[in-house]
């Protein structure tokens, strides 16, 4: 539109963005509130962070979530990148069908993924634990990685790779020296998303986890269901800090890549 946007549109946009972010900011602010029960401000404290550090279950959950998130991100990024390359750089039978099939995991409700994996593991008599969690996380992250990287591949000039081939680089060298460097922003973004998906997941994990292996979301869920204590605010603030850092990284890398 040539003119300025109507004022009400700005109002709605502002309110919606406030609705999306204010609750979280309040949540974080109250992780520093001295009062345990009151919603009023009773002074600044780090007590809840201290309480968090003194809870071994939270620390164990955090460490497990970081580990699984990292490994899951690496595996799903490698597999997802390879899959995206196959889908976007080659012509073969069934390619279009396979590409469409990539969207199915994106829209399958988490609960369906969770119980179907539980059913499989039960049928095979696999004992539940960190391995089953990892398998599940990779399974639902691959599609996200593939779609993100595929979008970047589709927008990438094929003649770059062809130029490398005519200059004497074979397919592998071309992949390493030309394609992957071009894809890097997409690969990093895909990897970070895979990490976040894993790090945040409660629903699927809750089905495929065994006793004694609780990721951070599983621990937090238990806490939220029982009582509302400000320690949860502190944990939430830590989770948010981790993911915000990742978004910042992803944004920075993708902007650097497009410049």
């Amino acid at each position: 539109m040539t003119g300025r946007l109507p004022r009400w549109l700005g109002g709605v946009t502002g309110s919606v963005l406030l609705f999306l972010h204010l609750p979280i900011l309040i949540l974080v602010a109250f992780s520093f509130n001295a009062s345990r029960f009151s919603a009023g401000w009773a002074g600044f404290t780090l007590d809840w962070y201290r309480a968090m550090i003194n809870r071994p279950d939270i620390l164990r959950g955090l460490s497990l979530s970081l580990q699984i998130g990292l490994v899951s991100a690496i595996i799903s990024t490698v597999l997802g990148t390879a899959l995206a390359l196959a889908l976007h750089r080659y012509r073969f039978r069934g390619r279009a069908t396979l590409e469409s099939a990539m969207y199915v995991p994106l829209v399958t409700p988490e609960i369906v993924v969770g119980i179907s994996l539980l059913a499989l593991f039960a049928a095979l008599n696999v004992s539940l634990g960190r391995v089953t969690i990892l398998i599940a996380h990779v399974a639902f992250s691959i599609s996200f990685v593939t779609v993100i990287i595929g979008a970047r591949l589709a927008g990438m000039d094929r003649s770059l790779e062809e130029a490398a081939l005519t200059l004497g680089a074979d397919e592998f060298t071309t992949l390493i020296r030309v394609t992957i460097p071009q894809l890097m922003p997409g690969v990093v973004a895909g990897g970070l998303l895979a990490f976040t998906l894993s790090f945040d997941d409660y629903v699927i994990t809750s089905f495929v986890t065994g006793s004694g292996t609780s990721t951070l979301p599983v621990v937090v869920y238990g806490m939220v269901r029982r009582t509302i204590e400000p320690t949860v605010n502190a944990v939430s603030a830590v989770v948010l800090a981790v993911t915000t850092l990742l978004i910042y990284l992803a944004d920075w890398i993708s902007r650097r890549g497009t410049e």
Binding site: D157, S159, L160, E162, A163, A164, L165, T166, L167, G168, A169, D170, E171, T173, R177, V178, P181, Q182, E259
Partner: protein, 366 residues
């Protein structure tokens, strides 16, 4: 370099149909045609970026079959339409890429990168460390050329390399490309849809249409002896006339159309009753007042419809009285302010030309 009966099909479209051609070493050879004529596919087949169909013929370089070889196993390099410079590598690293693949020692690599950048008139000290995004279109073009030349290929493929730069620079680059081809002794295979560029640059031109080569020859042959209406029309401008051969006298055949008559030089293959199609270039026609033309010339009465100002020339658009078809005549511009052209729309005139200026087409007017 040779193509023997090469075909390439994409899905249901035949991009190239049993193409055969030979290019001797050192030649500047152009593939010319409208978009979608198969010229780029031909170039990519030669590069190895596309494979011919099964039973789709063979490609030879220096007499050796290379049909099954990957691009990196062929002794050639390529300049791409939009340059395809690696955006993540500096100018010097871009140029060095092919040398690195060939494991050229570092010292020699540095020297050859420097020399080749100088060859394409880029100051190595000034540009070597720049990124492609920091270059102008013309500079990118030069880097792309240097990157392809530095590996000293026996064949250089160029896919409309000058399409994206402005006219003045393009003219200059054309001269430089021609000079490089002469001094380096590398075979240049050049794809373009710009007929003027092909005429300027090439030793020989292959005109392509719908996946086939229509005519191969030196620029003068292509321009002055087009064998088909397609070539006559695609390269330069042409006026087309057709009729039936009536009789031969004094080495001239008289061709009679329905309402008009003209003469062409006698040549083998024409007998009484042959259908004849000819093309006449606009610059070979003259516009005369009625009743004032030489007797040897072909004469057709017409009416001026439009006079178009083109700068160095003028074009008179006239309608042939007998057939109502439009003919274009190019007239030198002698200065419209001092010495203006005498024709105005509506004037009755006669278009004249020499029988020897008729280009007899071997295929029908399309």
């Amino acid at each position: 370099m040779e193509f023997r009966g090469v075909s390439k099909t994409f899905g249901n479209t035949r991009a190239v149909t049993s193409l055969s051609l030979q290019i001797p070493p050192g030649e500047f050879f152009s593939l010319l045609g409208p978009s979608g004529c198969g010229k780029t596919t031909t170039l990519r087949l030669l590069a190895g970026l596309e494979e011919p169909d099964r039973d789709g013929g063979a490609i030879f370089i220096d007499g050796v079959p290379v049909t099954d070889r990957r691009p990196y196993e062929r002794d050639l390099s390529m300049v791409f339409q939009h340059y395809a410079l690696f955006p993540h590598l500096s100018v010097a690293r871009n140029v060095a890429f092919g040398l690195e693949q060939r494991s050229v020692p570092a010292a020699e690599r540095v020297r050859r990168v420097r020399d080749t950048l100088a060859l394409v008139r880029l100051d190595p000290g000034q540009f070597g460390n720049r990124m492609p995004s920091e270059l102008s279109g013309g500079q990118r073009q030069r880097v792309a050329l240097a990157r392809a030349l530095v590996i000293k290929p026996s064949i250089l493929l160029l896919d409309e390399p000058l399409g994206a730069i402005d006219l003045k620079l393009r003219k200059q680059m054309q001269l430089e490309l021609k000079a490089l081809n002469r001094t380096l002794g590398i075979t240049f295979v050049y794809v373009t849809h710009d007929q003027e560029e092909a005429l300027t640059l090439s030793d020989r031109i292959a005109v392509m249409d719908q996946g086939r080569v229509i005519q191969i020859g030196a620029p003068a042959e292509i321009y002055e002896c087009p064998r088909s209406a397609f070539v006559a029309e695609f390269i330069g401008e042409s006026n087309f006339l057709s009729g039936i051969a009536r009789e031969e006298r004094d080495g001239l055949w008289t061709i009679g159309g329905n309402e008009l008559e003209f003469q062409i030089p006698a040549q083998p293959g024409i007998g009484t009753g042959s259908p004849i199609n000819v093309a006449v270039r606009p610059e070979w026609l003259r516009v005369c007042p009625p009743g004032q033309a030489s007797h040897e010339a072909n004469r057709i009465p017409a009416t001026v419809r439009e006079v178009v100002y083109l700068g160095e020339t003028l074009q008179v658009v006239a309608e042939v009285t007998a057939t109502r078809q439009t003919m274009r005549v190019t007239v030198p511009n002698e200065g419209q302010l001092k010495n203006p052209i005498v024709w105005n729309p509506g004037d009755e005139v006669v278009l004249t030309w020499l029988p020897g200026d008729c280009q007899v087409l071997q295929e029908g007017v399309s």
